[in-house]
């Protein structure tokens, strides 16, 4: 099967061309339709080659290379395709580092191509030379420096294979200028295996049986799911498992939208600012089944006090995740979709009404103490939660929510409803402020028919604000929401709660966002009053092209519930 595949994918004869054109040919062979990038001296031959491919491959000129990486990530997250980035050597390449780190920790497939000085100048401190390979070693799944044109087809094929197989991640290919200019005999063959890379293992049959036994006999079984479900396209299998077994399931922040919000067995979000019941009951379940998630410390709280009573089944594609944080009683190393398909027939039909009732009781407490006043406040300044709530009403959950980092992120992830899969794009593992505006651009370009909303704080917005110009230039109809509390809200919340309210460098005297946005070509609306909020949201969402809505929200509101640092998940606070 693989062999025939390889044959049909390979071009039979070779064609003589230069390295730069070969790179474009590789991208075309890999089905790349969109590149984000920024040109410069060391990558000029590639940009020149690109000129002849404009009808096959769209290139989007972002306003900063970091923006290019986040845009590529946003695109990759909603399409499951590999995001592609071009940048020049030196400063162009160093500007990619944050995006690479973000993509690595959130397992996003991305291939970045950077120009490099001539091979003969490597190591001589040549103009715009930087040791990209060393710099990016710790933030890439793989990286490689091409110094000869003849290496291009093989290395590019490997890059795409590695980026988007197994646990996906970012790859950077650094290409010296001479390799872009030299001639080669081009033939392309997709990589389908690498001997020193084992992307997918098959979960052990015995472990599978043990998992089924534990789940079938459990009194209080509990499923936690993360992005692994989305990455492997296992949404259907997850739902089948949940429905057949009657087991309540909670999502991590990257697991959002892998199941619809309103599913009766979806019990909500885990983590520091997640929902009350899913956190508290983690420490009451008897069998905990983790699917495609990695027990991030924002999810576990104090590890010693994390589900000590439970038998743990851990399903992950990456063997190094097993026992990394939480000891697994049963380890399923494999692809989520394939493994759940094998597990399903072993699972008995069941229901757990009393156990579910426990979730409902705690949900009620959270509603009374937190949610009601957050999403339906009767007085005071506008809250972030009510804005998200009104958006839900407008879109009925048929939207893609892209979030930046901070209070607005937690609020958006808590309250946004998801009716469709692959509808959540956030910087989870790295928590990169400045992510959402460019990632929103990428997400909207990847899902042109969907309503894509970037939810951003007034702080993070100013980190990549220049991408407004890219959005305007590409006429990408992204809907941008600035939840302006005039503070670095999340840091302020911590200073209030844990540093005696000593507000240290968290207050923002902001520019006029409306003017900036309009100056950069994106129409903007400013909302200060609850009375006009709903109408403004409608106007904003119904606008044809890109549009920005700034909402002034309460300055010193806090996000609750909250698992304080050092506390167990069961010690989550409602106020």
């Amino acid at each position: 099967m693989l062999e025939t595949q390889e044959k049909t994918l390979s071009t039979e004869s070779t064609t003589r061309m230069n390295g730069a054109k070969a790179i474009m040919e590789c991208l075309v062979h890999e089905g790349v339709e969109l590149i984000y990038g920024y040109p410069g001296g060391a990558i000029m031959p590639v940009y020149d080659a690109l000129y002849d491919y404009q009808d096959q491959v769209q290139h989007v000129l972002t306003r900063h290379e970091q923006g290019a990486t986040h845009a590529a990530q946003g695109y990759a997250r909603v399409t499951n395709k590999t995001g592609v980035v071009f940048a020049t050597s030196g400063p162009g390449a160093t500007n990619l580092v944050t995006g690479l780190a973000d993509a690595l920790i959130d397992s996003t497939p991305m291939v970045c191509i950077t120009g490099q000085v001539f091979a003969k100048l490597l190591g001589t401190d040549a103009f715009q030379e930087t040791d990209v390979i060393s710099i990016t070693m710790a933030v890439t799944k793989w990286n490689y420096q091409i110094t000869k044109a003849s290496e291009i087809p093989d290395v590019m094929a490997k890059a795409f294979y590695i980026a988007n197989s197994g646990r996906p991640g970012p790859v950077i290919i650094d290409i010296t200028k001479n390799a872009q200019l030299e001639l080669l005999d081009f033939a392309y063959k997709k990589t389908t295996a690498i001997r020193s890379y084992n992307p997918i293992q098959k979960a052990d049959e015995n472990e599978l049986t043990k998992a089924a036994e534990l789940l079938n006999n459990a009194k209080k079984p509990y499923i936690l799911f993360g992005q692994g479900v989305t990455l492997s396209g296992a949404e259907t299998e997850l739902k089948q498992l949940v429905e057949k077994s009657g087991i309540p399931a909670a999502w991590t922040i990257l697991g959002l939208s892998a199941m619809e919000t309103d599913h009766p067995l979806n019990v909500g979000m885990l983590g520091m600012h997640g929902n009350y019941a899913p956190n508290v009951l983690t420490n009451e379940c008897d069998v905990l089944f983790a699917v495609g998630m990695r027990f991030d410390d924002r999810v576990t709280g104090k590890v010693d006090g994390y589900a000590p009573q439970a038998k743990v089944i851990h399903l992950d594609i990456d063997p190094s995740e097993i026992n990394k944080i939480i000891e697994a009683d049963v380890a399923l190393v494999g692809d989520a979709k394939e493994t759940l398909q094998r597990l399903l027939p072993l699972i008995e039909q069941n229901v757990h009404p009393e156990w579910l009732q426990q979730f409902k009781d705690l949900d009620q407490m959270e509603w009374d103490k937190v949610i009601e006043k957050e999403i339906q406040p009767k007085e005071g300044l506008i809250t972030m939660g009510e804005v998200i709530h009104l958006i839900n009403e407008e879109t009925e959950g048929d939207h893609i929510i892209v979030t930046d980092v901070g209070q607005h992120q937690m609020v958006a992830c808590r309250y946004a409803k998801f009716a469709k899969h692959r509808s959540n794009v956030t910087s989870g593992g790295l928590g990169t402020m400045g992510f959402a505006l460019p990632a929103g651009l990428g997400a909207q370009m990847g899902a042109p028919d969907r309503c894509v909303i970037a939810v951003i704080g007034d702080g993070g917005f100013q980190m990549t604000i220049q991408e407004l110009a890219t959005i305007a230039q590409t006429k990408t109809p992204l809907k941008i929401l600035i939840l302006n509390n005039q503070f670095l809200g999340m840091v302020r919340q911590w200073q209030e709660l844990f540093f005696d309210k000593r507000y240290s460098s968290v207050e923002l005297e902001n520019p006029d966002f409306q003017m900036i946005s309009e100056g950069m070509g994106v129409p903007a609306i400013l909302t200060k009053e609850r009375a006009s909020l709903k109408a403004d949201i409608q106007k904003w969402l119904n606008h044809e092209g890109p549009c920005l809505l700034e909402v002034r929200v309460g300055k010193e509101n806090n996000v609750f519930p909250m698992v304080p640092a050092g506390a167990t998940v069961a010690e989550i606070r409602l106020d």
Partner: protein, 177 residues
């Protein structure tokens, strides 16, 4: 409890791979006590022997993360008692030192030290053994003046396992990528 472990890694022979592997130690703040690398019995395959002192839990996680790097064929770790290992040390001492009595000669005989090279100005000695062995010799030679000293990292062979067996078979079958 901290223990000594020997990590054995088989990799592709690629530029930068050593760096990629060492960043994994750096990230976990684990000090590399010694490191030896050279070509293994298969063409294009390198073998790393790395000794570390840490908790077993750490070395287990470390090995898994080393295994998962693209370019790593296999990574295993062993306790002290699970391997046979050696280190090699070279000593350069002044030739004159041999002319003051038989003491130096006796040390060399009793340690079964090899003489690699004799020049008018210096003699190069070789001692293979555990670190304690080469260290003892070092202490004994010190009074005679050591001009230069070097000790290698460990090379080790496992007693319990035939590492890399499966991979070796498949690699020999498969075409190189």
């Amino acid at each position: 409890m901290k223990e000594k472990f020997t990590i054995c890694i088989f990799t592709e022979n690629q530029v930068g791979l050593l760096h990629r592997l060492t960043t994994i130690f750096t990230r976990r703040h684990i000090n590399i006590e010694s490191l030896t690398t050279s070509e293994a019995e298969l063409d294009g395959v390198h073998r790393f022997t790395i000794s570390v002192e840490c908790e077993e839990e750490q070395v287990e996680k470390l090995s898994k993360q080393l295994s998962k790097q693209v370019g790593t064929l296999e990574a295993d770790y062993y306790r002290e008692e699970e391997t046979v290992w050696q280190e090699i040390a070279l000593f350069k001492v002044s030739t004159n030192a041999f002319f003051n009595g038989t003491q130096l000669e006796e040390i060399i005989r009793s340690h079964r030290t090899r003489i690699l090279e004799i020049e008018p100005n210096y003699v190069v000695l070789e001692q293979t053994g555990y670190k304690e062995d080469t260290q003892t010799l070092f202490e004994k030679l010190k009074p005679f003046g050591i001009l230069e000293f070097v000790r290698s990292g460990r090379v080790s062979i496992s007693k319990t396992n035939v590492p890399f067996k499966k991979e070796k078979e498949t690699i020999l079958k498969k075409e190189k990528h």
